[in-house]
């Protein structure tokens, strides 16, 4: 595996391998569409782009620092209790995120409700700790954490873009298209060229996120055939 090769070289350099750690999770090793990790929150919070952005930032923060801390402690953690130790590290970070969000943006905190807490069980975090941070040095683990957090965030934003635009006719909360004068394109106005448009309410429901992810996987795999499931 490429990951093992990276581990041998030490030092704080930023070369090809380090760049790979950051860039790979964005496409060929994407946490959501390829590794199938962290689906729950991807479905729940993607009805609006603002919430998705908050969630993505929170996850990047947690993946980065949990990888860093776990990797720094990796030789001191006994193998039998490593799950609990990892979970405590993650839970502490998530509590920090939760309280910060509560103080800074109470609206987002209310809307994201239990899903901020559920970052603890977001398999991306645990998965990367097990697969990477337990066997690599802190600097590269942190890079890997950032890369995976970003890969997750990119997909999250893409899903949210589709769902928010077609479901509510909004973009980051800006009103784009809808049946009232508040919207940029007012479909209810007399003689409007978009008079036929109806918002697709299905997009706001949970199952729509499933369909959007399925279509994204379809496009991604048609573009990169080596990812196709052969079984």
């Amino acid at each position: 595996m490429a990951e093992a090769a990276v581990a041998k070289k030490q030092g704080m350099t930023f070369g090809k391998n380090e760049k790979k750690l950051l860039v790979d999770p964005l496409s060929t090793n994407n946490p959501i569409t390829v590794q199938v990790l962290g689906i729950c929150s991807a479905l729940a919070v993607t009805t609006g782009m603002k919430n998705s952005l908050v969630m993505a930032i929170a996850v990047v923060f947690v993946t980065m620092f949990s990888s860093l801390i776990t990797s720094a402690l990796r030789n001191a953690i006994p193998k039998q209790v490593r799950m609990i130790v990892q979970l405590v590290i993650i839970a502490t970070l998530v509590t920090i995120v939760e309280l910060t969000l509560k103080a800074v943006s109470y609206d987002s905190y209310k809307q994201l409700s239990v899903f901020i807490g559920l970052i603890i069980t977001n398999c991306i975090v645990m998965g990367r700790l097990e697969a990477f941070a337990m066997g690599n040095d802190p600097y590269r683990s942190a890079l890997d954490g950032i890369g995976n957090g970003l890969g997750y965030g990119v997909i999250l934003m893409a899903i949210a873009f589709v769902r928010e635009l077609f479901g509510k006719g909004e973009f980051f909360g800006l009103k784009i298209i809808g049946a009232s004068p508040e919207y940029w394109v007012d479909t209810a106005a007399e003689g409007s060229w978009m008079g036929w448009y109806q918002p697709n309410n299905l997009m706001i429901l949970f199952p729509a996120a499933m369909f959007v992810i399925a279509v994204m996987i379809w496009i991604h795999r048609a573009w990169k055939p080596q990812l196709v499931d052969v079984s």
């Binding site: 962290g38 949970f206 199952p207 379809w218 496009i219």
Partner: protein, 201 residues
């Protein structure tokens, strides 16, 4: 009693953890390739949910609340304590099952550690807090939620076993199809949302 049955039915069908809230999706998608493995994981989830829910209820009421042992509001410790309870319960269940039923352990073995990071378990506990359930209600909610999750994973595994023989476009095979199917099942479960359980009493 009637109310407890109501909570059971509600959490199993109307507010199904897997198909209405889409919790526990990672293991749901990863382990649903065959009915046999899905059955094992489903049973383990029922078991762990039903055990952790009352314990977390007790911790939340007697340790963390303002009326609890320490007399102050310690709810910021909730996440850490809940996940510690879940992780240690899973470990305990694993050891007990290994000692008393090696055959069950062999069929569940690999899935038990997976359950720690199944968001249906932690999510269930957090929902229990936000719904302000009592002790008996939380047991019923745990059993019902676990049963609903069990049903959902069995159903998708059965469909995925059959769909392997269908002519699906190559890039959509496997994972893509699983997402589409789950979405369709979620739509089907939404039709249960309108059921008014008060009518049965």
């Amino acid at each position: 009693m009637g109310e407890l049955i109501n909570i059971f039915i509600k959490s199993a069908f109307i507010e199904n953890l897997a198909l209405s809230y889409f919790l526990g999706m990672c293991s749901y998608l990863a382990v649903s390739k065959t009915v046999k493995t899905a059955f094992g994981l489903g049973l383990a989830v029922i078991f762990v949910l039903a055990i952790t829910m009352p314990i977390n209820w007790a911790i939340n009421t007697y340790l963390l609340g303002e009326g609890g042992m320490f007399g102050t509001d310690l709810t910021f410790l909730r996440l850490i304590l809940f996940i510690a309870v879940i992780a240690s319960m899973v470990q305990l269940v694993e050891m007990v099952v290994e000692k008393y039923s090696p055959s069950l352990y062999n069929s569940l073995g690999i899935f038990l550690p997976l359950i720690t990071v199944n968001c249906a378990i932690l999510g269930g506990s957090l929902f229990m807090v936000s719904k302000e359930y009592g002790f008996a209600e939380s047991v019923s909610f745990g059993l019902g939620g676990g049963f609903g999750w069990f049903l959902a994973i069995i159903a998708i595994a059965a469909i995925r076993e059959k769909i392997r023989y269908s002519d699906v476009p190559a890039p959509l095979r496997g994972l893509g199809m699983a997402f589409l199917l789950t979405g369709l099942m979620g739509l089907a479960f939404m039709s249960l949302m309108g059921i008014d359980l008060a009518a049965f009493n």
